[in-house]
Amino acid sequence: MTTQPTTTYLNVTHGLASWLLTKDHKRIGLLYLVVVSIAFALGGVFAGLIRLELLTPPGDMVTSDLYNRIFTMHGVAMVFFVLIPAVPAILGNFVLPLQLGAKDVAFPKLNLLSWYIFVIGFIFTAFAMVMGGVDTGWTFYTPYSTTASNSNVMAAGVGVFITGFSSILTGVNFMVTIHRMRAPGLTWFRLPLFVWALYATSLVQILGTPVVAITVLMVAMERGLGLGIFDPTLGGDPVLFQHLFWFYSHPAVYIMILPPMGAISECIACFSRKTVFGYSFVAFSSLSIAVFGFLVWAHHMFVAGISPYSAMVFSFLTFAVAIPSAVKTFNWTATLYRGAIWFKAPMMYVYGFLGLFLIGGLTGLFLASLGTDVHIHDTYFVVAHFHYIMVGGAIMGYLAGLHFWWPKMTGRMYSDGLAKVGAALIFIGFNLTFFPQFILGYMGMPRRYHMYPPEWEMLNVLSTGGAGILGIGYLLAVGALLWSLKYGAVAGDNPWHATGLEWTTQSPPLPENFVETPIVTEPAYNYAHREIKVV
């Protein structure tokens, strides 16, 4: 097959309105891709400014107030508008109905509405940024956010609140889609692991996001209407805010990491030509991470005045939630054993993911363990740890998935070599940026510091240099993908020779995905079986 199919979801209708009013899950996925990419670029610029400022010990580039706004806006943009929506809203929207053999998600109009809600939330937040920014940190801790900060907490809070509903509604939509829209024969244990991951994620979105929504709303009401729910001068408790905030925001980490883990499972199976080792263990580890994830929030508060006994319980549960992640990693490793490893660009990203997620996950043990957490809490150790998980893990997984499904989304193939160079640069740049921060953290450098003692300059210089390489890596990866849109070879239906219903239809798919609703008769990743037929 050397030419693009004549009718695809991309060319079936034309014009801006046909995109802005689309109910096609594939187009909506691309709409998210546009907005999330803008947010990622914004957040990336802020990250660059942070690293430039920290190149030298004194605060000599921007004022303290500006610095505080920069790191806050970096966090808000990246957490709420990149990491949370990236894989579920972009890749999930595009791939989920295809993988289920469905024509669309269960509620296509609601899906479009979710995108509009997301955009409105983003506009509020962008408005807060344009009007001078927010300086509370992305965590909006009270009483600073309610009484002391004189920045645009209201607008940013309302933006986050609104965006939360986009996430909730997407969760509801995906849950129902997975329950009710599966093709005939596609039983639960034949589902691709990406679907399991999205299911677990949706659970977290439905149960967690509303809590942070109401909490941020309470902060906004406290600022705007003078309510006094967290006000210590009335006897209110600022620590209660932290409980409510982390009840969501810790599980939110799993919203960020579970879907990329699912994408990684897809890629590993495809490029080692094997079924995922211990399919059901990987599937259930996603669910148990989602469930256990709700029981560990107070590990963000070990030094925030909670009782030592509750700290002990939360420490224990935090160790427990680490186990399913370890199980996943071992299963991925075992999947590679005696595979037929075809090392294409997505696999390169998988390897990057494995390396970074491994470090990110293992350094979590230092923070779960109370004795060491007291010392490294709120230091750069924590910053390094969660960047390894949320950027090293989640963004690498997102890029793996994006490179994996890109030919399906666009019908074009990017340059494998260029994409691999991008992946390598990202991996090297990332480690150079964030590994020194573990050391800085243990040395005692607190996070959110505009300036620092001179003895830490060397490590910060390394970190800033790494950030430069990381930035070039991202630009290269994006460049390779954009280049393919115009110059890339025609991909064909199944360039990776992968299993999965999404590869049985044309690339780019038909507006309604399949000519006929497929009927499933075999388990996922049935490479051995299928290839015998081919050969």
């Binding site: 024509k103 093709a183 309470m218 729910i229 006897g235 009840f247 006929e516």
Partner: protein, 234 residues
Amino acid sequence: MSEVAAPAHAVGHGHDALHHHAAQQHHFESLDQQHEASTLGMWFFLVQEVMFFGGLFTAYMVYRIWYPEAWAEGSRELDILLGGINTVVLIGSSLTMALAVRSAQVGSNKGAFRWTMLTMILGLTFLVIKFFEYEHKFELNHVPGANFVFEGPHANQVEIFLSLYFAMTGLHALHMIIGFGILAWVAWLAHNERFSREWSTPVEMTGLYWHFVDIVWIFLFPLLYLVDRAGQLG
């Protein structure tokens, strides 16, 4: 393919529009599948609503354990008579809502329209009474914020109580207002004779939502109005 009791995962077909109900969306295989999806979606949505209110209930619980006296004091400031009337009004509206669903399910658009309108009237009654309660609080300067005035030994903590009162009842009232809008849409559908024995999903979903909003009030009323009313009325 037969359209009679088609299973949710009926073997696929293209656009076999002959037997499709007008309300069936093209991406579903059957009207049943569409109805099941809507119902499941509504329940998941209600789960998130529970969590949404849950944040406020948690704050309420923590402070009530810390400041029981202030809670009793603050609660006594609320008008138990108006609150009680509203409770009755809202339970009544749940009944009329249930009757609207029933009418639609048996294909009576006229009945569905009437009961929906009655539900709207009861909902409006609730909101009007709530408005007067709020107004009274404003007159007494019992609204948290810069102008808050309260005489009593636990004035500060009573302000927290009243903050939660306004947050919780305000959020509940917002849900009522949204529900009011949805009911208006349902009434319009019923007026246009859109419901039938085969298809009454919007009324059923609205019913689930409306009952949920009522249940929230069933929790709010004792938690806010009846904290310290043992042995007293009014």
